[in-house]
Symmetry: C2
Subunit: 354 residues, 2 copies
Amino acid sequence: MALKDTVSRAYSNWMAGSGPENDIVISSRIRVARNMSHFAFPHMLSLEKAEEVIHALTLALENKDLKFSSGHLEVSRMSELSPVERQILVEKHLISPDLLKGHEKKAIALRDDEVLSIMVNEEDHLRVQSLLPGLQLESAWDQVNRLDDELEKTLDYAFSERLGYLSACPTNVGTGLRASVMVHLPGLVHTDQIKGVLNTVSKIGLTVRGLYGEGTEAAGNLFQISNQVTLGHSENEIIQNIVSVTKQLQEREKTARKALYNERRSQLEDRIGRSYGILKYARILSTDEAMKRFSDLRLGIDLNIITDTKPELVTELMVLTRPAFLVSKAGSDMTVFERDVKRAELVRNKLKVK
Amino acid sequence: MALKDTVSRAYSNWMAGSGPENDIVISSRIRVARNMSHFAFPHMLSLEKAEEVIHALTLALENKDLKFSSGHLEVSRMSELSPVERQILVEKHLISPDLLKGHEKKAIALRDDEVLSIMVNEEDHLRVQSLLPGLQLESAWDQVNRLDDELEKTLDYAFSERLGYLSACPTNVGTGLRASVMVHLPGLVHTDQIKGVLNTVSKIGLTVRGLYGEGTEAAGNLFQISNQVTLGHSENEIIQNIVSVTKQLQEREKTARKALYNERRSQLEDRIGRSYGILKYARILSTDEAMKRFSDLRLGIDLNIITDTKPELVTELMVLTRPAFLVSKAGSDMTVFERDVKRAELVRNKLKVK
């Protein structure tokens, strides 16, 4: 499937509701940063050399053993895509916003199911990523590790015996591994515990961000937890650390939801019901309001207060109603107001009584 | 049918959506104030004499000609009803809040369809009332006039050749007639024209009030327009004056609705949609919020934005969700919060997708 299909489809495999612990952990992501010897780091790379890096990866992906263990990843240059299509890849969490800057040097290799991907010439030459629904960091690591091992057979990675994998950014030196989970924590938000909890998380060396990467506010009560440092710990230690913190967060969140349900049930049901009613009938919906209502809806589904909508649909809506996706659907430039009207229309249609 | 049935039923004939000009004029009301000679006005009346007034009316209502022209009106003493039941009669607009004070002297005569009624020993000995859906002041007057004529045959009314019918309150001397319409003016409210319009109305000698009588705020964009003075004008002049003002209000309201529809359609549909969604899914609804949402819903129905709900249902819900009605349904005392939860439940059930 061509990348053009990927950007026209809102649904990614990581949105499937079938992942474990899916009521709280939306998705798990593993990525490793890799660089090739004999090439300058991307920010110092000429256009010609950047092209050589892309070419080297393309060749490496043709390896039969690699294809057997990891499947087919198709390489697309960022310059082949329109700005809106590139933005959609960001909204689908397949690439970082950084890959949009200086896009003529950059590329992405993507497997059909969108679980495995490689960003080329972002901050590092290669960033190999796996994205899975629910709490599946180990499986995600397995997939990335296998692909990485196969790539290493033909590519000459920049590696130091003392430091490990070298990277353009010091925080990526070592294993080059970043493990992250996206967690939905409405219970902790609505019981005003979130600040304390996230404070604790950041004190033990983990980073907390909103859904759409660095510097964005937590929209829809979704938080991304990831490791800060990749040096001095084995891949397993890093992953196990995140898994253990995630399980603790999950317990705290479950307790908070139980408290809301037992002590403020009417208020909880009221907020969830109102959000559901508004999503079903509103004609103007901003991104922020939509995310807030989606969070309520998702919580309502998890608590069996809303029984006629599936959780996967909510995750899909969260992506489908992002600005670039809406613009691409409409096929033309839109004002913010037109987008808000389009967003409401899309949500109404998706939630329509069957 | 006994009065006990009346207070257990939310629906009154005046709520039927079949009245003319029903998209803006909800109901029309005519009442005349009458007093009997040889009796002190009600506020000076002993318990014994008050009972005599009730008795005299009961006998008058037994008159065969009266029964033939006006039907059967059953007399019930206020003291037979519980405080909640009395409040329900107020919420159904069948009696005034004044009839609740010193209720041991007071009574109501009511026809089964609730169109014709007589309050006994309120401010005057008799207040004969007719309440019809839509703009039907002339029909309401016909009914009151016929009943009044029959009553006058057997009762000795206090009447002065110079002043007309005498009354305990100077503003009721003369014809003793009060004509009023309940109008729904969301268009004028949402285009910020209402204040100016109502100001003009009061300058030409008419009174404007909220839905639930004197001193209450206009809930749900419903306004009651009535004549202030009954002396010096014939019944016909009074009625024609209100009809003509109502028709002008109607034109202004229609223009305002058209402007909202043409110039701010998305915002209008959004507000209406949200209110509908909230009514369908909220779990806590205050009286004020409910009335506000009902007004939006009603407007949505009138403008064909909402097509799966009938206007009569909205009028019924407006009465059904009043505090006393809710208390009577639950059969026990309730806190405000419990009432708000019960109100939301009732509305959800009534608006449920068929």
